[in-house]
Symmetry: C2
Subunit: 299 residues, 2 copies
Amino acid sequence: MIIDALIDKIQLTGNPSVIGLDTCIDYLPQEMQEVCTTLEEAGKQITKFNFDLIDTLKDVIPAVKVQVAYYEMYGVEGMKAFRDTIAYARSNGLIVIADVKRNDIGSTAAAYSKGYIGKCKLAGGEVTPYESDFITVNGYLGSDGILPFVEDCKKYDKGLFALVKTSNPTSGELQDKIMDNGKTLYDNMATLVDGWGAELVGKYGYSSIGGVVGATHKEQAQAIRKAHPNMFFLIPGYGAQGGKAEDLAVCFENKMGGIVNSSRGILCAYRKPQYAGMDYKQAALTAAIDMKKDITRCL
Amino acid sequence: MIIDALIDKIQLTGNPSVIGLDTCIDYLPQEMQEVCTTLEEAGKQITKFNFDLIDTLKDVIPAVKVQVAYYEMYGVEGMKAFRDTIAYARSNGLIVIADVKRNDIGSTAAAYSKGYIGKCKLAGGEVTPYESDFITVNGYLGSDGILPFVEDCKKYDKGLFALVKTSNPTSGELQDKIMDNGKTLYDNMATLVDGWGAELVGKYGYSSIGGVVGATHKEQAQAIRKAHPNMFFLIPGYGAQGGKAEDLAVCFENKMGGIVNSSRGILCAYRKPQYAGMDYKQAALTAAIDMKKDITRCL
């Protein structure tokens, strides 16, 4: 089961962290940025940067998270970079989380699913244009908008992370509100996630249907960990967003149960004073190892 | 203001409906489907079908809604069809709603926005790869995930529709739950939408920041219409999903205040007994006119 494969890979590398390839051209070194005068060239430079990071980091990290927004903004050429980045990461043995936060009514959710984790039917056969191991989804529409994704997870051994408690400052505006059953919206969402994933619990006790739980809201994360023991957490918000290793330790139980994302902190490490003199590959590798140490010392 | 342009166009055509170009290859006539042996060919056939429908419908309808899921599932080649469809519809004077339901933390929302309604910066200048007039978004993350889109709406005279009460059967699972202020989640969402759009209310009293309110939940739609008079509704769920003209009339006030979507009902009209003998263009045109009559008789 894919969640077991992810946990095995975390244990193999000793590293419960995932690097977010949120590669916009602003994050590239000056000389690469200057070449990006067209969408096509932007796509090429981003692809080169990503391939370099995958080559450099593949033995140190279990997974990459690829945030599609940073590719969509470069149009069709950006989506080529997204497609090629995902394929290259998988061919190098990394688990790929496509961070797409898709959501819609059932028939449309099924269409999205075909693009990333299911199969898209053509006249001559089937393909998966952006084949990933996990995707992220948003459950505001309720179960019938998520079940098509879950069906494909079952059929093709894939996984997903549904937004539960997000890392952004205003996530509490709706998510923290108490609903008529006495529980918060995020806790109600977490209960739905448990239900969607009940048949996909693997050998470590975690389901391939997980939740996104931000590193920036310690108390809520702790409450979710306690109430939803089978939920594997994708944990954004570490580093650039302010989440600290000490705080996100509550997401783990016996050093298991989550994977922590860092994007800008790794991609742009070469601009930080502590990595001065390193190129972006060396700096990313050093920052990824520093992150691993920082997190594992707290678990 | 874009919301005024949309309402003007609705009045010009006398037609408060929008055709959803949710064009998967299953909806194409058999002889076109058979050609779709590759993603590239699928993209071409879908583009041809869409262009034909735009040519046929452009004087009868004010707008098209393009559901990106049906393009993403065909990968990069599908996104070419999405890009070209949007551009062709706009060049033919139609208002374009990119139905993407994007959502993320602020910095990522800003990246999405650049792809559809803002500007994406390159070394030589700025572009908008998939320039649309309106997009759809999902506000589960709260204000700071939506405000980057709203900023671009202000800057570039664009609009958006945030999910409020969706048309799918299980939309009530979370959206109908009463929160601690005594109001439903969808009503709390609607109040946020009002706030986001307060500075973008146009000459007809409606804001360019609107809401998605399904045609399949009459009572809820009526309550939202009453409590949120400045909110313009994008109304899915008519036709194939079971929403009836009699029911969705509650979304309107003096024949204004919303636009009703139909996708499969128009795209696949040529398969219906009542349009037998017509090709897909004639059938779509006849079905679009039938839909216009059906809705306007109830307002």
